[in-house]
Amino acid sequence: MSEELRVSPIETREAPGKRRFAMVVDTRRCIGCMACQVACKAEYDTPLGVNRTWVPYKVVGKYPNVKKQFLPRLCNHCDDPPCVRNCPVEATYKVEDGGFVLQRYERCIGCRSCMAACPYNARFMLPSHRTYTPITNVVDKCTFCFHRVTQNLVPACVQTCIGRSRVFGDLNDPNSEVSYLVATNATQVLRPEEGTKPHVFYIGADRNQTEFGRDAYRKPDVMELQRSAFKRHFDI
């Protein structure tokens, strides 16, 4: 894509002189160990009830031909992020060099527009109690570990990923591991029809996971007991 053809000026993919970080999640390697989810919780003292990354699973097939599929999820650091477009006060914004979509906590008014705008449920409201971090009652989300990446470390979830399912790097550098993986494998992004240009690329993502199945309507009973407890506690 050439500079002139770029649809949205905000996009950094292939923008010369800029980095565009991305994550590749190779679902063939994901063992559903949840290490990523917990490492991220620790990194940010994320309170109970909310997550920057999570690993849903589905049991797929009929006995005895059954598989278990995991689909690690996090903010896609969309190149064209609707959350940023929707924030009235630019509390969420995109960092041009790197493509991170970040939060300015001190500015956020907590209107939840960005939450409503994100097609991926990647954002959440921080509850008023946390262990030791004073930031509460504002919207939070995955930062692509901005503070680590800018110190030349991979994100915490990538660092601990047992299956090495998560790989992180600069997609604008053709020699990076992520560029290599994206170039040499068929990749998927979630809900491409939303035009968000996600920068979390999946290898081998299972359609049972990426699409709304019928059970989306017949709310899976597996979840219902939990969901109602959750709603009761947070008084929703």
Binding site: N86, P88, C108, N121, E211, Y217, V222
Partner: protein, 284 residues
């Protein structure tokens, strides 16, 4: 349960629906107050509807602010350095604040009397028109949510604002027959328009892909179905139209009853239109 599951919850809760409802009435009442400068029949409710709008605006505004998790930062939204003109909420905030100011000036002028009120009413009505439109846009811009993302939503919200405004005004109108007749007309036409738009929304939603279809199912079955179809469409849209067309609908009690049904329907519709399309994604 099972081994472990993860799930999410809706972003915008019921408070938002109440706000939509109130702000719709505010807009409707403001139109009526403006129209009273052009239609003598509405003259009796000029002041009362403007005052009604003011009170409701105060309530709605407080509700909106209280619903923010950082209410004290409400002023950030007016900070020109922070303002994001891409966001309908930002426009909305400007809209609502300027509307509030104009409304206060208008009320002031009404008290003082004199000709300026007519012009102020015009400006207020224009800004009031913005209220349902911006709240509609609030939803429409969310491309990922079925129903919300139909461009007809702002138009629907305008029609619902007129309907709810007229309904509220019919309660203020007292026994003035002329006023009642005019309001009856407004109620009839605006509710009719709401009905037509709902049909088109349901039709396109049902016709859409799986996400739309699932949302259609969510909106039309179970508790949500009861609220949306039962209260919103049947009791709150079809029934008042039928009532208003019937001879009884020309009487004072008939119009008031229809107005109450429209109000109930308006509340239900806003709730369902806000919550229904958020359900599916909580499972994603």
């Amino acid at each position: 349960m099972g081994d472990f599951v993860w799930f999410h919850d809706v972003s915008w809760h019921a408070t938002y629906a109440i706000y939509f409802f109130i702000i719709g009435i505010v807009a409707g009442l403001t139109f009526l107050s403006f129209l009273s400068w052009h239609n003598e029949a509405l003259r009796p409710i000029r002041a009362s509807s403007a005052w009604g709008a003011f009170v409701l605006l105060a309530i709605g505004g407080l509700l909106l602010i209280a619903d923010l998790s950082q209410p004290l930062r409400f002023f950030n939204i007016l900070n020109p350095f922070y303002l994001n003109f891409g966001s309908p909420l930002a426009w909305g905030a400007l809209n609502i604040v300027s509307f509030g100011i104009v409304l206060v000036v208008y009320l002031f002028m009404l008290r003082k009397g004199g000709g300026g009120g007519r012009w102020m009413a015009g400006i207020a009505a224009l800004l009031a028109l913005g209220l349902p439109i911006y709240t509609g846009f609030d939803l429409t811009v969310h491309q990922s949510r079925p129903v919300w993302n139909t461009p007809i939503i702002p138009v629907l919200f305008v029609a619902m604002a007129i309907a709810s405004g007229s309904a509220a005004a019919s309660l203020l109108a007292g026994s003035n027959a002329e006023t009642r007749a005019t309001l009856r007309q407004y109620l009839l036409w605006s509710t009719g328009a709401v009905g037509v738009m709902l049909v088109s929304i349901l039709g396109t939603t049902h016709h859409g892909g799986s996400a739309q279809e699932l949302t259609y199912l969510i909106l039309t079955t179970g508790t949500m179905g009861l609220i949306f179809v039962g209260i919103g469409i049947v009791a709150g849209t079809a029934a008042p139209i039928a009532l208003l067309l019937a001879p009884f609908g020309r009487q004072q009690l008939g119009v008031v009853l229809a107005g109450m049904l429209v109000l109930a329907g308006g509340a239900a519709l806003r709730y369902a239109l806000l919550m229904g399309p958020q359900q599916l994604q909580t499972l994603y």
